[in-house]
Amino acid sequence: MPERIDREQVTKVAKLSRLELSEAEVAEFTGQLSAILDYVEKMNELDTTDIEPLAHCLPLSNVFREDSVKESLGTEKALANAPQRDGPFFKVPKILDESFGA
């Protein structure tokens, strides 16, 4: 039986997940994820045609806060856990592709 998910897909998912995997890990995950996905396929035994998806069990809607200012942390506390900083900034290797946005 072919694997539910192949190495190529595992590599793609690893990239999407920002996880650098070794060849051995890719192989291992391919087998394990396939087994798990095979099991998950079990859901297809159920006819869910008219069933609403349930993302949340809560009896709640419209939970808000008032637009009032709370004290911020301040730069020092904000950066206290930073692996690397440059003055008041978080520091990262040069970003060359400005391809993302809101």
Binding site: R18, Y39, P59, N81, P83
Partner: protein, 491 residues
């Protein structure tokens, strides 16, 4: 004094009969003696603990008011943020992370004058059923050092069972409070989703996670729940008082529930170990003798709970854990070539196998082309499961089932077979999907002397009655009074 419940200890402290500092000293003595083997704690806070204890003692002797957990030594799972020490989630990626804020439950414990003795071990990011996925510490079952304490709240459960604290807080996403409580022979409650604030609980599966007590008695469980339950404006998913009032869980605790109807799901329980099923049957007999009616029901969709859970929980986890990227806090790889490597290498280096596996699974389930087949399908199955519960609760006060198909398994037994590990959560997961409360209480031992847990599930926000039902059993059995053999070493 070890056998004082948290509630009794608190009463003695308030009455001036016992000093909190003594109780704390005793706990630290035991931690020093037994925790090197048990491995329940990732970190302990001796100085802070004594400071709090002495403050409580001073206020008691000065006749000042003290909180409902005054002077009681408690442990918290290391996925709840504290401004003292690190909050690690048992992960290398957060090994040195110091939270600038306290989780709401931590604030509530402190406001109740509890003494937080330490932060307990767990599966990394609460992903696991044996605590073997901790990257920082190995925890064993206090009843048998060759066996797992369960997970992911294995540290808190082992600490409570080993009398290394009076009570603890764990978190439960798919059974992570109830299963280790069952494996360690203590009481564990997963409250209704929305009953306890998740603010400051490091998220695993946000729509499933819930903090709850792990204690030695139902009494203590009610006490602890009373402290942590309630609305929190910082958590939009915590339910307000108007929607669901927080009652005094202790008030009617000892009143048995009249006309009690208990549902049993025999077909679903078939997969459980014979001794586990026998213990369940005996527990049902106890209830029958107490006047309860036991009805057999079917819940046709429970068999699909694991499948739905491992899609939903991992999908949410893949997103929740995206923030651990080595940019703003946490582990960063040494010499990244570019900023993308900061992500991919830091995460590869510092996440454990199970965490990677779940991130991968969840990412896949949400990725384009697979969303409908996996994620959306799982949400629909979730609805079917919730409906099963709604139907069942139309006929009964509560549903009983095993906590786990087996008693505590051996260290290393399932660690290389993730699917087998997942399948061990078969009885606990449905409650998380349906958002309902569930409790695990000791109901016997197998022939190896390992504890067996009884799980009772109740309708949403039905904790008060659930605790009363559990208390009925506890008041008529002695299982909860048994302490693990560590005890004999001490004596």
């Amino acid at each position: 004094m070890d056998e004082l419940s948290a509630r009794q200890l608190r009463e003695k402290i308030v009455a001036g009969e016992v000093r909190s500092a003594e109780a704390v000293a005793k706990v630290f003595e035991r931690i020093e003696k037994f925790d090197p083997e048990v491995g329940a704690y990732i970190s302990t806070y001796r100085d802070e603990a004594f400071e709090t204890a002495e403050d409580v003692d001073r206020r008691v002797s000065a006749g000042e008011a003290v909180g409902v957990l005054a002077g009681v030594p408690v442990a918290i799972k290391d996925n709840m943020c504290t401004t003292f020490g690190a909050t690690t989630c048992a992960s290398k990626i957060l090994e040195n992370f110091h939270s600038p804020y306290n989780a709401t439950v931590v604030e509530k414990l402190l406001a109740a004058d509890a003494v937080i003795v330490g932060k307990a071990n767990m599966d990394e990011f609460a992903m696991g059923s044996s605590t073997e996925n901790s990257a920082l510490k190995r925890t064993v079952n206090p009843w048998d050092a060759n066996r797992v304490p369960g997970g992911s709240s294995g540290g808190p459960a082992a600490a409570v069972a080993g009398r290394l604290c009076s009570a603890a807080l764990g978190s439960d996403t798919g059974g992570s409070i109830r299963q280790p409580a069952g494996f360690c022979g203590v009481v564990g409650l997963k409250p209704t989703y929305g009953r306890v604030s998740r603010f400051g609980l490091v998220a695993y599966g946000s729509s499933l996670d819930q903090i709850g007590p792990i204690t030695r008695t139902v009494d203590d469980c009610a006490l602890m729940l009373g402290v942590i339950a309630g609305h929190d404006p910082s958590d939009s998913t915590s339910v307000d008082e108007q929607t669901a009032h927080v009652p005094d869980y202790l008030e009617k605790l000892d009143q048995p529930v009249g006309n009690l109807k208990i549902a049993n799901v025999p077909k679903f329980n078939e997969g459980a170990d014979e001794q586990v099923r026998a213990a369940l049957d005996e527990a049902l007999d106890v209830y029958r003798q107490l006047g309860a009616e036991v009805l057999d029901i079917e819940m046709p969709h429970l068999d699909y709970a694991i499948a739905a859970y491992y899609v939903i929980a991992t999908a949410e986890a893949s997103s929740n854990l995206a923030r651990y990227d080595g940019v703003h806090y946490g582990h960063r790889t040494e010499r990244p070539r570019d900023y993308v490597e900061v992500y991919s290498k830091s995460r590869a280096e510092a996440f454990g196998k199970e965490v990677k596996r779940r991130i991968m699974l969840g990412t896949y389930a949400l990725s384009s082309g697979y969303y409908d087949a996996y994620y959306l399908k799982a949400l629909k199955v979730r609805n079917l499961i919730r409906n099963d519960f709604a139907d069942a609760f139309g006929e009964c006060n509560c549903i009983v089932m095993p906590v786990s198909p087996t008693t505590a398994f051996r260290l290393g037994d399932k660690i290389d077979d993730p699917l087998q590990m997942y399948l061990s959560d078969v009885y606990t997961i449905a409650a998380n999907l349906a958002g309902i409360p569930g409790i695990s209480i000791p109901c016997g031992f197998d022939d190896k002397g390992l504890p067996i847990g009884l799980q009772i599930l109740a309708p949403a926000f039905g904790e008060a009655e659930l605790l009363r039902i559990a208390r009925m059993f506890e008041a008529n059995t002695d299982w909860h009074k048994k302490a693990p053999p560590l005890e004999s070493v001490d004596n």
